[in-house]
Symmetry: C2
Subunit: 220 residues, 2 copies
DNA sequence: CGATCTATCTGAACAGTGTTAAGATAGATA
DNA sequence: TATCTATCTTAACACTGTTCAGATAGATCG
C-alpha cells in the first residue's frame, strides 16, 4: 500500500554523480557531509538544518541519526574536515617562504583568506555549542590547526617553549579576531571580491604593524 | 467565555519588582529586554528564544512583535545596550592609567573580561545574522566601541590617522580573537573563576608580547 | 460624563525544526 | 534458502518564529 517512491527522489540529491547504488545508500555519511558543506557554503552557519541536509542527500529526516546520532554529530564531522583543510592551508602557506616572519605573515593571510572564502564552515568550526565539543577527534583537529602557528612562531622567538606558546596565542588571536570582525563587516563589506581584497590589505598592514620587518615598531 | 486569567500569571515574570501596572503592561519593552539578557546570561546565545523571553515577561508569544517587529529587532536592542556597556567598560578601564601603553593593556583586559563575564551577550553582539545588521543605532554603538581603541592607540603611535586605524584594527582584532578563542575553550576551561583567571594571565602575556614595555620585542 | 478611538495584547493557526520509536526493507550471513 | 542485522521510512511529539483576526483597556473628544 505504501507508495515507496522515495527511492526515486533520491536521484535528485546534491550528491556528486558517482555510484549512489540501490536502496541502502551505501555512502550516506559522505553524502550528508557533502550536503552540509554545500548548505554552509550557500546559506552560512545559521542556514544549516538537519532536515535540509537529509533532503539534499535524498533521505528522510530520521536517517542521519543512525550515522551521526544527532545534528551535532554530523556538524562535528564537518568541523573536523574543516580544521584539516585549515591546517593544510596554513602548512602550505608557510612552506616555501624563506624566513620565520614571512611564514607567519603568509599563515595569517591564509587563515583570514580561508575564513572569508568559507565563512559558513569557518563559523561552524568555532561554534562549540553546535558541535560535540569534547569529541576527541575534533579536539585533536583543532589543536593541530592551532599548533601550526606554534611551529612557525617558535622559529621567530628564539626563546623558551612558554614564549612560543605566548607568541602563538598572540598570532592566532590576532588573525582569528580579524577574521571574525571582518566577517561581521566591521572592516567594510566582504560580500564581493573587491571588498575582500581591500580587507586583506588592511590585514597586511596589521601584520606589518604587529610583526614588523625588523627591530622595533614605530612607537611613541 | 474566555478565561482571561492570563493577567494573573503576569506577576510571575522575571521583571524587576517595580510598578508593573494593570493590563497594558506599560513597560513591556524593558521587560522583554531584561528577560532576553537574563536568558543570554543563563543559557548563552544559542539558548535564546523569543517565546521564552515572552514567557518570562508574562505575555503571549505574539506580544513582542508589536514592539520590536521580530526577534531580530529585540536582539538588536539588546546588542545596542551591550555595545554601550562594553564601550563604557573600555573607557573606564583606560581612564586613570598613566601612559598610552597602560591604557591599551587595561582596555584589552577589560574587553576580554567583559566577554568572559557576559558570554551570551557578547556572542549575540557579534552575531550579525541574528540582528538587524544595518540598523543605524546598532552600527553607531558598534562603531563607538571600536573607536575606543582608536582613541587610545592614536596616542601610542604618533603617526598619521591611517597608522592609528591600523593599530586600532590590530588591537581590536587581537583582543576580540583572544576572547572568542577563550570562549571556545581553546586556551583551557573558562567555566570557573580559576580558569578565567588563568586565561586572563595568558592574555596579559600576549599583550606584553605584542605591545612590550618599550622598544623592540625579543625577536630573532 | 459617555462614546469613540487607538495602541496593546491574546488566541489560534501555520509552516518549519530536531528527535524519537516502531516498523519495513535489503544486503549479508549461516 | 532462511535468518540476521544494519539501514532507512513513517509517524508522531514538542518545540520554534511569525501572522492575523479579534478582544481589551487606557486616552481622547463630543
Amino acid at each position: 500500500m505504501k507508495k515507496r517512491v522515495s527511492s526515486a527522489k533520491r536521484s535528485t540529491g546534491v550528491t556528486r554523480p558517482g555510484p549512489e547504488p540501490g536502496y541502502h545508500h551505501g555512502e550516506l555519511q559522505e553524502a550528508l557531509i557533502a550536503a552540509s558543506e554545500a548548505i554552509l557554503a550557500e546559506q552560512g552557519a545559521e542556514g544549516f538544518t538537519l532536515r535540509e541536509a537529509a533532503r539534499r542527500a535524498g533521505v528522510s529526516p530520521a536517517a542521519p541519526s543512525h550515522h551521526f546520532g544527532n545534528a551535532q554529530g554530523l556538524l562535528t564531522e564537518v568541523a573536523i574536515r574543516g580544521y584539516d583543510a585549515l591546517a593544510g592551508a596554513l602548512r602550505e602557506a608557510a612552506s616555501g617562504k624563506p624566513g620565520a616572519r614571512e611564514k607567519l605573515h603568509a599563515q595569517g593571510l591564509a587563515y583570514v583568506d580561508f575564513a572569508l572564502r568559507h565563512p559558513g564552515r569557518f563559523q561552524m568550526m568555532f561554534a562549540n555549542k553546535r558541535l560535540v565539543a569534547d569529541d576527541a577527534r575534533l579536539r585533536q583537529a583543532s589543536r593541530a590547526a592551532g599548533h601550526a602557528f606554534e611551529i612557525v612562531v617558535a622559529e621567530l622567538v628564539g626563546g623558551t617553549p612558554k614564549g612560543a606558546k605566548t607568541a602563538a596565542a598572540a598570532a592566532w588571536s590576532t588573525v582569528h579576531g580579524f577574521a571574525k570582525l571582518a566577517l561581521e563587516e566591521k572592516f567594510g563589506s566582504v560580500k564581493n571580491e573587491a571588498g575582500r581584497r581591500e580587507v586583506m590589505m588592511t590585514l597586511n598592514q596589521v601584520l606589518n604593524y604587529l610583526w614588523p620587518a625588523s627591530g622595533p615598531r614605530p612607537q611613541a
